[in-house]
């Protein structure tokens, strides 16, 4: 287990999430793929925090936790995003009886 292997696993997860976000037609599937991407980014941040960051280790030992604090912020923003995204999905389903992305075209006309 090294920094590179951790980064590669996170990169694979991110690419899978990106493919899912681009190539699925269901809104909920796209949101799930975006969650995978968020998790990959969190993994990268925490891996960097453990292996690379702490040049300031000698001054203040708490500074090694900065990466984890970043990950906490990312998790919070992701939770808010998912709550709002699913709210929009429900509103769309109420109006159009569908959760397919290509049918969300009410603003076009």
């Amino acid at each position: 287990m090294s920094l590179e292997s951790m980064l590669i696993v996170a990169a694979i997860l991110f690419a899978i999430g990106l493919y899912g976000a681009l190539a699925r037609s269901n809104v909920i599937a796209v949101l799930m793929s975006i969650e995978i991407m968020f998790n990959a980014v969190n993994l990268t941040v925490v891996a960097f925090a453990r292996y690379v960051a702490p040049l300031a280790l000698r001054e203040e030992i708490g500074s090694v936790l900065t990466g984890q604090v970043f990950a906490i912020f990312v998790i919070t923003v992701a939770a808010a995003e998912i709550a709002l995204g699913l709210g929009i999905v429900f509103a769309m389903y109420r109006n159009t009886e569908s959760v397919t992305l290509t049918e969300a075209n009410q603003l076009r006309h």
Partner: protein, 183 residues
């Protein structure tokens, strides 16, 4: 030499990547939501491996406990569960874009000299991270022993408040969106 950490790492890597592939490939949306929970749990395992135990707990609580349930609710409340996860017409561009990005990221990750800190320092980091979660009992109150809380309220207090404002806005927005029309 293969240690226990390496074995756990490879098991977690295989599980997380297979489950993530399942999320984007499986046609049944309900199963893909369950596989998403598996991805979340595997990432929590990675956090434990990186000695970020607090984050692992947060990950299980928020992602596995809340977000997966939200997704399952959403899937159950919308119709066409069985054939809900159809691909759209962008298969080839999507595959090529993500494959290109993947190759780029892997090349960057392998070829960059990250200058990782030496093993002894990694052990120090592990000790600091674990101590930050357990509260550093018995080791006196040296600086940083309260860890994440001190950083959140001290150095990162402005993003902390911004995030709380964001959560409030999301709460109000979710209520406004979910309110049914006419009432």
């Amino acid at each position: 030499m293969v240690g226990a950490q390496d074995i756990v790492f490879w098991v977690l890597a295989v599980v997380s990547i297979a489950a993530a592939l399942g999320v984007v490939v499986v046609k049944d949306l309900f199963r893909s939501a369950l596989l998403l929970a598996v991805v979340f749990i595997a990432v929590a395992g990675f956090f434990v491996l990186l000695s970020a135990e607090f984050l692992a707990v947060v990950q299980v609580l928020i992602y596995v406990g809340a977000i997966s349930v939200l997704f399952i609710f959403a899937i159950m409340l919308t119709r066409n569960v069985r054939e809900g996860n159809l691909p759209n017409r962008l298969q080839i561009p999507a595959i090529s874009v993500s494959a290109l990005l993947l190759v780029g990221m892997i090349v960057a990750a392998v070829n960059t000299d990250w200058r990782p800190i030496p093993e002894a320092a990694v052990e120090m980091v592990d000790a600091a991270q674990t101590q930050a979660v357990s509260g550093g009992a018995g080791s006196g109150s040296e600086s940083g022993s309260t860890g994440i809380a001190e950083l959140l309220i001290g150095q990162f207090v402005l993003p902390f408040e911004a995030v709380s404002l964001l959560l409030l806005a999301a709460l109000i927005g979710g209520l406004a969106l979910a309110r049914s029309r006419g009432t």
